[in-house]
Amino acid sequence: MNSSEVLLDGDSFCAMVVASADFIEANAALLSRLDAVSGDGDHGANAQRAMNQARTSLAALEVTSPASVLGALASACAEAMGGASGAVFAAFFAGVADAIGDRPTVDAFVLAGSLTAGLERVQRIGGAEPGDKTVVDALAPAVAAAESASQRGTDVGELLAAAATAARAGAAATRELAAKVGRARYAESGGRGTADAGATTIALMFESWAAAVDVRRCSGLASDNSNDPSAVSPGSRDLRSSGRH
């Protein structure tokens, strides 16, 4: 499988973020309607504003590396999304970026570990557990699917596709849940019957990432493990230490 392994570089992450912006923009009205059931109905507009700012920030980046792109995305979420979701998305992307560190490219193994680090940061900041009807209900299964894909030895494209499927299933399952944290828990029936808006955004994000990587892979733009000297071997499991020299 190594010969077919795709590596994600800074440009790949740019394409992924731009795809996310497109997906979220196309679904902004839906996200706001979901949010209106138990929140103040502005999640779609806020997410779209953050993605637009991320797009602008990417153009101004001096160095396009996986971490710099995700860092810009984190800042855009923190500043332009606002509220609880802004903090959660910022924590996730910043956690992933920090775990990737200064690697010029990311393989499936590093991606899975970095996504796990992002989820850990989200849970540390927000304290939400699976079942609380939050982004964690999409994020946790997506990360678990990514880890499992990585252990099976799949490439990043398949890993992201598996994560997207799991995120979508997790987001859809929030329909059956009543909110336990955040403002939604005060709404009538805790928003039961409607999917969580933040979890739906996570699903859209993984779907857009999978689509973007698939397009790049099929068009021959993605770098290939066999001719990339910077490829990270699966031996370097400790992401924190190996990412910061």
């Binding site: 103040d40 500043e79 509220g83 609880a84 802004g86 903090a87 900041i125 403002r183």
Partner: protein
């Protein structure tokens, strides 16, 4: 009937225009710094602890009216009903730093807590001396025994006043944090409201609530609470609320308390005075001493027809700090206060 129209210009510019107007009217006390945070016009002396609070806008005069001598130092105002982001909070912490550390005060709501945690971590990375305190008081948001899960409400009024005086008087960072926790642990708040209000930016109602029904436990963003069902008189409502508050906070005969009747927006002073009459009677019957009472609009939810009733247990030190002079645009404690009904 929910009033849906607001006298504004561009709905997306409500918050900056509101800040500009409020600061211009109170320029002897506050100004906007380069980052859009509300700071004191005359910073507190070097060597004193700075107090910062971030909050969603739409609750005015909270917290812009609480920046000034004897109160807080910096308010980071977010979008309507939305917590400000971590970078804005970090800049607020920097603006409040007078060399003795900064206490980041957080009214416990999901967005406020998460953004504050990110800002707190960033402030530590920048080697700022900062502590964070999570504040909550709303009895209706989690059962007794799970106080740490409750949300912040109008009762944090007492934290601002008492900790503001402590910081102004030279209290250390750890003393200020400890006092904030002590006041928080002695405050209990319940709200009641008719109907809901609209988000002034979107024009959308914040909850689907029947206007005619009085609901106890309405959140500061208009989150729905428990319908009381029938028609209660003012006295019956206060009896119900006081009974829950006194039981939840284990208030007993001999305690000294301060009381707040906060107007959520559209209550009349007449109604609030009628309500307080019952509060006063119940406290007297319970042999609980009333140190001071404040009736007014401190933290609003637009023009919500409701109020928050807060009772705060105060010891000698808290009473002295509560009585210390303070001047904010929305709240002032005069320097002379020797006429106190006991």
């Amino acid at each position: 009937m929910v009033r849906t129209r607001r006298l504004v210009n561009d709905p997306t510019e409500i918050v900056p225009e509101m800040l500009e107007g409020y600061v211009a009217a109170n320029r002897h006390l506050i100004r906007l710094d380069d980052h859009g945070n509300v700071v004191r016009a005359h910073p507190k002396a070097h060597g004193k602890v700075g107090l910062v609070i971030g909050n969603g806008s739409g609750h005015e005069p909270a917290m812009i009216g609480w920046i000034g001598p004897g109160l807080l130092d910096v308010n980071v105002a977010g979008p309507i009903f939305t917590a400000p982001g971590p970078a804005a909070l970090t800049r607020g912490i920097e603006a409040a730093d007078r060399g003795a550390g900064v206490l980041l005060c957080v009214s416990q709501h999901a967005g406020d807590v998460m953004n504050a945690r990110l800002a707190f971590e960033e402030a530590l990375v920048r080697q700022l001396r900062v502590e964070m305190v999570l504040l909550y008081d709303d009895v209706s948001s989690a059962p007794k025994g799970q106080e740490h899960k409750r949300r912040g409400g109008a009762g944090l009024f007492f934290v601002w006043k008492i900790v503001g005086a402590l910081a102004e008087g030279g209290g250390s960072l750890s003393e200020c944090k400890e006092m904030a926790e002590r006041v928080r642990d002695g405050v209990r708040t319940l709200t009641a409201a008719f109907g809901t209000v609209v988000n002034p930016a979107s024009g959308e109602p914040l909850a689907s609530v029947d206007d005619d029904h009085l609901v106890v436990g309405v959140g500061v963003h208009g989150e729905s609470g428990r319908d009381t069902g029938g028609d209660l008189s003012a006295h019956e409502l206060v009896q119900h609320m006081m009974s829950r508050l006194l039981d939840d906070g284990s208030f007993t005969a001999g305690d000294q308390v301060c009381v707040l009747l906060n107007n959520s927006g559209a209550m009349t002073v007449m109604e609030l005075s009628v309500l307080y009459r019952s509060v006063h009677t119940i406290l007297a019957e319970s042999e609980i001493g009333v140190h001071r009472v404040w009736i007014g609009s401190y933290a609003t939810t637009q023009d919500l027809a409701g109020f928050a009733l807060s009772v705060c247990r105060v010891d000698d030190e808290m009473r002295r700090l509560y009585d210390a002079p303070a001047t904010g645009a929305a709240f002032a404690m005069p320097a002379r206060h020797d006429v106190v009904a006991r």
